[in-house]
């Protein structure tokens, strides 16, 4: 026999049947079922295959600690929603759910991978560190790489979909006075108490129902109490969230929650997110997360049919599933006795093996006996028998402090209670150190008492009544700490069993070869722990890493304590052979690992919320974005910005378009959207002095109405940024920065003014978004501007000389700032209008430019024009370049100090043979070369090279490819010598001349007009 559904009882809704499929076969369950309870009710016992040895596995628990029933849920649609590694014990059943076994071929019932179990003696913990290395064939890793392919295929558990996840997720924020984690008796009481004291309380429960352990107790016993507590919490104003896991606690009393919104729905509304990630900022957090029942290590303790005793209680009372007809309950503590009684009452034949001596279980045995249950003290399970599910149990009996064979007994379920581990994970996230409590045989953790409190089984309080009181005490303590009136309630002492627990972690007898799982999810056995000890991996972290104990999807919830106990035992008894007697191993001496978030695994989609795809990062567009698109612009990425790259006409390619655009600028006129440049208003009586400190050149004497090109260095003397700054009045400057460094420069200026030089009376404000900018460049630029200016006299050489700044109005009243500055080397202007006027300004300019035979030009043509002129941009100013490297040494004013002026004088930065900015031209003018090529001496195409190419373009003015870059010693050192642009990742080497970077109109006659 296997498990079956009882004819009545439970908290399921029998009125409705939910059809679902398991490995293709149709089954039914009810609302209120989990997939695990429905599978058990349907007689399915073999549900999973283990990670390494492909051992058969069934349902082992009723919660998040599940190590056996891991399945793949198909999800709706085309397979993109396939969800591997789902714990059937927490997956709510819904109509149409399609689940299947995983990590098995062809299926979990007949899995060829199970051969690994036969070879397991040759595959102990860490075997892969000792083999797969050689011999050395070709490279040193050839053999391993070959083996790795197969190992990778064998490893892993479920298979994730490779299709994009089609679901939506959300990130939400919440604030509260008190966050209560856990909706059991302690949590409910804590929440109600704190709320009654006038606090804003948020209670979160990972289950789909509130009640915690009360849900697992017989409805007749606990139903009323639960209803009362729920009522109390609700009327006190507690905000409760179910299906919500507090997965991590972080600094500042902040918790991360995952709310599962649609994972339990057959047909969710399309507007709902699948999950919601909450960041909750609380003033106090009460951890009432309960405790997890442990098992102990004995032979085949992972066989389907072996289950936690408390889990069986949940299946019986909550889901009305009887796990077997002939049941053995194995325990070392009191908590399994109520389960045994309830199972017997439900009609099962029940026998209890209690590892404790007769005198400690006498009273319990008497009570059990009254229900027809035999209790065998000094007994424990030794080995489960049955290939694919439990059919019998070999029993161990203790005599004289030693375990011996104690016979064999037919059974169809073995329920184990090896003690309880308080769920202290969240406390550990914030640095609370787990401490071993020898009396209660569990780890507890001191909540820090300030912002963090703990209650209930999470504080190792076992009795339901005491849990409730501890919740009231914690709730009241939080309320008092936050200045509310609340009674002082004494926190109950940990513990609560009548007869103390007997520490027991493993059962074995001399000579028996047992496969005893410590961490079933990772197939870590008791022998693996002993092997780790033998090889010196004795510190808890070495044990964990060497055996992989506790490193799988349950985060060690099942196995950690047992593993530590076995290591403690090995360390304490290193001299003799077999252990397994009644001594209490010194776990405290081994130590504990730190629990890391998340408490249970969290979908990455939830953590990213909506920041995905096109919304991964903000997208910045200029106010004339649409205007540009309408005129055929192809956009490119520049940092967060989208900027026009080129404006193809009649199917032009990129190269055709930018060459035409650049030529048009040189011959007539072009317009370029330069809005993305950073713009900063620098204002105040000390603005001039400030600029003199941050720029290498002088600004103090810049006349009002003039602009100047300036360079800023970092503190370390290397170039930070460049741009023009316009003097609008004695105390008002308009600074422009590069697009890339706009934000950096702004924060830097603020830092200087607020932190370093607070005495300077200067205010800076970013006005980047306030002004839309357009460059008007080319010999006809003056004509174009005059054509659309409302008063053309503002543009005369006298009114607006080279580097002059002015105000003008164009297109019939568009107010603009204008400067006669040039990046292209042509007669050129930059015109800025308030952003709302952006398209109006462009319309006006373009009407005139188009009439003059001009064009719109994008970033590629802008690059071509500046390369011809040898102007530097981000490709050259890469954070490692000095003023002199960039050929801008003349920009460093003599006789004034500025940011970076001291450290730029460091000797290595002053060497003559540093790479310096040069122009580059192919010897064969028809040849093309690439940016990123390395400049080498001819015949020496190896080594680090002499320099590199930063940018190239086809120069329409010169009629061939040109580039700029840096080369050791600069142009002077290469006069009369050629170099080779080596580009092994893309192209054949090209012989080049090193020339002046000012390749077009070196005297700047065109620019001055």
């Amino acid at each position: 026999m296997s498990a079956r559904r009882l004819p009545d009882g439970g908290r399921i809704d029998r009125a409705e049947a939910l059809r679902f499929t398991w490995d293709g076969a149709e089954l039914t369950g009810h609302p209120g079922d989990t997939l695990a309870s429905a599978l058990l009710a349907g007689g399915v016992q073999l549900i999973g295959r283990s990670f390494k040895y492909h051992r058969p596995r069934g349902v082992m628990s009723a919660g998040v600690e599940e190590s056996g029933a891991l399945v793949t849920v198909a999800g709706a649609g085309d397979g993109a929603r396939r969800d591997p590694n789902v714990k059937a014990t927490v997956q709510e059943l819904y109509a149409g759910l399609a689940a299947a076994g995983q990590n098995a071929w062809p299926n979990v019932r007949f899995d060829l991978g199970a051969a690994a179990n036969r070879l397991s003696r040759f595959l102990p913990a860490g075997f892969y560190y000792k083999t797969f290395m050689g011999p050395r064939i070709k490279g040193g890793t050839t053999v391993w790489m070959l083996c790795e392919k197969f190992i990778r295929r064998a490893a892993g558990m479920g298979a994730a979909s490779r299709l994009p996840d089609p679901d939506q997720y959300e990130h939400a924020h919440a604030f509260c006075d008190v966050l209560v984690v856990g909706g059991g008796p302690a949590g409910l009481a804590a929440a109600a108490t704190a709320a009654r004291a006038g606090l804003d309380v948020l209670l979160v429960e990972q289950d789909f129902q509130l009640g915690g352990d009360l849900l697992n107790q017989p409805l007749a016993d606990a139903g009323e109490l639960l209803a009362e507590m729920l009522d109390d919490a609700r009327s006190a104003g507690v905000r409760a969230m179910t299906r919500t896991t507090a997965f991590g606690l972080y600094d500042g009393c902040v918790a991360g929650l995952i709310e599962r919104v649609t994972d339990h729905l057959a047909d969710p509304a399309p507007f709902l997110p699948r999950q919601r990630f909450w960041t909750v900022r609380a003033r106090r957090i009460i951890v009432a997360a309960g405790a997890l029942e442990r098992h102990f290590a004995f032979g085949n303790n992972d066989r389907p049919g072996v289950m936690g005793a408390a889990a069986a209680r949940a299946y019986l009372n909550r889901y009305a599933v009887l796990p077997g007809e002939r049941i053995v309950v194995a325990t070392n503590n009191d908590s399994a006795y109520p389960v045994a009684g309830e199972l017997a009452a439900a009609g099962a034949a029940v026998e209890v093996l209690d590892a404790r001596p007769a005198d400690r279980v006498r009273q319990l045995a008497q009570q059990a006996g009254a229900r027809g249950i035999t209790v065998r003290p000094h007994c424990a399970p030794l080995r489960a028998v049955g290939a694919r599910r439990v059919k019998a149990l070999e029993v161990a009996m203790e005599e004289g402090g030693r375990w011996r064979h104690g016979g064999r007994q037919a059974c169809d379920a073995v329920l184990v209670s090896g003690g309880w581990s308080p769920a202290i994970h969240l406390i550990s996230h914030l640095g609370g150190k787990p401490r071993w409590n020898r009396r209660l045989a569990c780890f507890t953790a001191d909540a820090n008492g300030e912002s963090l409190l703990t209650a209930g089984a999470a504080a190792a309080i076992w009795d339901t009544g005491a849990c409730r009181v501890s919740g009231q005490a914690a709730g009241a303590a939080a309320a008092r700490a936050l200045g509310k009136d609340a009674p002082g309630i004494a926190m109950p002492a940990p513990g609560g069993w009548r007869s103390p627990i007997r520490p027991l972690y493993e059962v074995r007898v001399p000579g028996a070869h047992l496969k005893s799982m410590v961490d079933p999810l990772n197939d870590v056995t008791a022998d693996d722990v002993r092997l780790a000890h033998r090889e010196g991996f004795t510190s808890v972290e070495h044990l964990k890493r060497y055996t992989t104990l506790g490193m799988s999807a349950d985060g060690g919830k099942m196995g950690n304590v047992i593993g530590l106990a076995l290591m403690a035992e090995a360390l304490g008894r290193a001299s003799d052979g077999d252990g397994g007697d009644g001594a209490d191993p010194d776990i405290a001496a081994v130590g504990a690992t730190t629990f890391r978030p998340p408490y249970t695994p969290v979908a990455l989609g939830a953590l990213r919320g909506r920041s995905v795809g096109g919304h991964f990062r903000p997208l910045r567009r200029t106010p004339m974005h649409q205007w540009n698109l309408e005129r055929g612009a192809v956009m490119t990425i520049a940092g967060l910005w989208e900027r026009p790259w080129y404006y193809p006409r009649h199917g032009e390619t990129l190269d055709q378009a930018y060459i035409r655009e650049a030529a048009t600028v040189r011959e007539s006129v072009g317009l370029c959207d330069v809005t993305s440049l950073g713009k900063i208003a620098v204002q105040g009586p000390d603005a001039a002095a400030f600029l003199d400190r941050i720029y290498t050149n002088r600004f103090a004497h810049l006349p009002v109405g003039k602009a100047r090109y300036g360079i800023m260095l970092r503190d370390d003397g290397l170039v930070l940024d460049d741009g023009t700054t316009w003097r609008l009045s004695e105390t008002d400057y308009f600074m422009t920065t590069t697009t890339a460094h706009a934000a950096t420069v702004m924060a830097w200026l603020e830092e200087l003014l607020q932190v370093r030089w607070p005495a300077l009376r200067v205010h800076v404000a970013s006005v980047s978004d306030q002004w839309a900018g357009c460059a008007v460049a080319g010999p006809k630029s003056h004509r174009v501007l005059s054509a659309c200016a409302d008063s053309p006299e503002a543009l005369t050489d006298h009114a607006l000389p080279f580097m002059g700044v002015g105000r003008m109005s164009l297109g019939g009243g568009i107010p603009c700032r204008i400067a006669r500055i040039s990046f292209s080397g042509e007669l050129a202007y930059e015109v800025y209008a308030p952003s709302d006027y952006a398209t109006a300004m462009m319309d006006a300019l373009w009407a005139a430019a188009e009439a003059a035979g001009g064009c719109l030009y994008g970033l590629e043509a802008l690059g071509a024009l500046r390369i011809e002129k040898g102007h530097v941009t981000g490709a050259e100013l890469d954070g490692r370049v000095t003023l002199d490297d960039a050929g801008l040494g003349r920009m460093a004013a003599k006789g004034k100090a500025f940011i970076g002026s001291t450290l730029r004088a460091r000797p290595e930065l002053q060497r003559e043979d540093r790479p310096k900015l040069v122009g580059i031209r192919p010897k064969d003018r028809a040849a093309r070369f690439n940016a990123g090529a390395i400049l080498c001496r001819p015949g020496q195409l190896s080594g680090l090279g002499e320099g590199w190419v930063t940018a190239v373009t086809h120069s329409p003015a010169l009629g061939h490819w040109i580039g700029i870059g840096f080369i050791r010693g600069g142009e002077a050192a290469w006069r009369g010598q050629s170099a080779v642009a080596a580009d092994p990742v893309r192209a054949a080497p090209v012989e080049v001349d090193i020339i002046s970077p000012h390749m077009f109109d070196p005297d700047g006659a065109r620019m001055r007009g």
């Binding site: 600094d251 500042g252 902040v254 370390d716 932190v755 370093r756 001291t902």
Partner: protein
């Protein structure tokens, strides 16, 4: 999440702020010798424990703040405006936030 009580905006997530640097570093005059600048720019005490450091409330008021924070626990002891004049005004105004939590 480190929660930083900004004297201007109130308590906010640290993700609204940008960490600056060790606030105990004294930057020398611009024309100071290389050794002084070398120390200020490149060398750090790198305290494990309570240190003074600058943060900017980048996505808030954009004020630079001096925060007294424990680098081992992330606990914040005090926060003030980095600009001494502004800090003095806040303190004089009896604004509790001006001197920390």
């Amino acid at each position: 999440m480190i929660r930083i009580p900004c004297p201007f905006c109130g308590e906010r997530d640290h993700s609204e702020f940008a960490y600056g640097k060790d606030a105990s570093v004294q930057y020398p005059p611009l024309d100071a010798p290389l050794e002084d600048w070398h120390e200020a720019v490149f060398l750090r005490d790198n305290i494990r424990g309570v240190q003074l450091e600058t943060w900017q409330h980048l996505h808030g008021c954009r004020q630079w703040l001096v925060v007294e924070r424990d680098t081992a626990t992330h606990h914040i002891h005090s926060v003030r405006a980095a600009h001494p004049g502004v800090a003095a005004v806040l303190a004089g105004a009896g604004n509790d936030a001006g001197s920390g939590k």
